[in-house]
Symmetry: C2
Subunit: 144 residues, 2 copies
Amino acid sequence: MESMLTITDVSRRSGVASSALRFYEERGLIASERAGSGHRRYPRSVLRRIAFIVFAQRIGLTLEEIGAELAKLPADRVPSRRDWSRLSGRWTKRIDQRIAELQRLRSGLTECIGCGCLSIDRCSLANPADMAGRKGPGPRYWLG
Amino acid sequence: MESMLTITDVSRRSGVASSALRFYEERGLIASERAGSGHRRYPRSVLRRIAFIVFAQRIGLTLEEIGAELAKLPADRVPSRRDWSRLSGRWTKRIDQRIAELQRLRSGLTECIGCGCLSIDRCSLANPADMAGRKGPGPRYWLG
DNA sequence: CTACAAGTTCAAGTTAACTTGAAGTCAAGC
DNA sequence: GCTTGACTTCAAGTTAACTTGAACTTGTAG
């Protein structure tokens, strides 16, 4: 059975633009075979891989990190449910850390800014030591 | 008393690089007076303003949004504690939304990827409708 | 057979939030 | 008088994750 998908098929089913799919391929996150014409053909299993990529992005991983995770999947066969859940298991901790950070910020909102200390020097929430200027150039994201 | 601060003073006390301080000024987030030499001089109150900016960034606001918030402060006097807490009050909701999103993702991690459905089409967490391709060009951040 | 849609590559553009570099000014110490 | 250091402006570079455009080739419907 000829069940390979075109790039438009994959784009429509995954919600990810074709340009992004080519970009992911360039970065080694997904792979494709080629039809005689040179057009990309994808196996159905790529959809799960893409879902995983999107999911991981929402959690906050960079494409580079996602690539590193995907590299741990078996190369010789279509990954099983166990394979996938082994990967995602590590993220739980990461999510928990982000949640904790946000909760810390949330309480700081009322306790620190709303409080009377008003001292940037003494306030642990707006403290040089734990925030700015760490990532070098480029945008600094919401979490150091 | 001559208690104005130089840009290096402010940078050291806030942990924000001087280049960033100039950038914030260009964007209208902070202001400075000038010494006869043309060098910037800041009142002490700028430190609280900068703390607020950094805090807001960690919560996930863009500089543009932060600018809009800061514009709501009184222009004719140094903002009071009430002024500040009025601003930050609105953020609580926002933080809660992010926390909820992360918790949703966290449970999806075990329930969806770890589960047997394995169908990208049926999985509400990796669903085209609520995720990709919304922000136009540029990076897509961890939250739609 | 001819449109026209869909696919290809490759280079360059986009956004946010800054940083870096070049070229010049100004004040203080020796 | 001169060097050093802090400061200035302005233009261009950086990073991530893509998108857009140009220039071409292929596949398909009529």
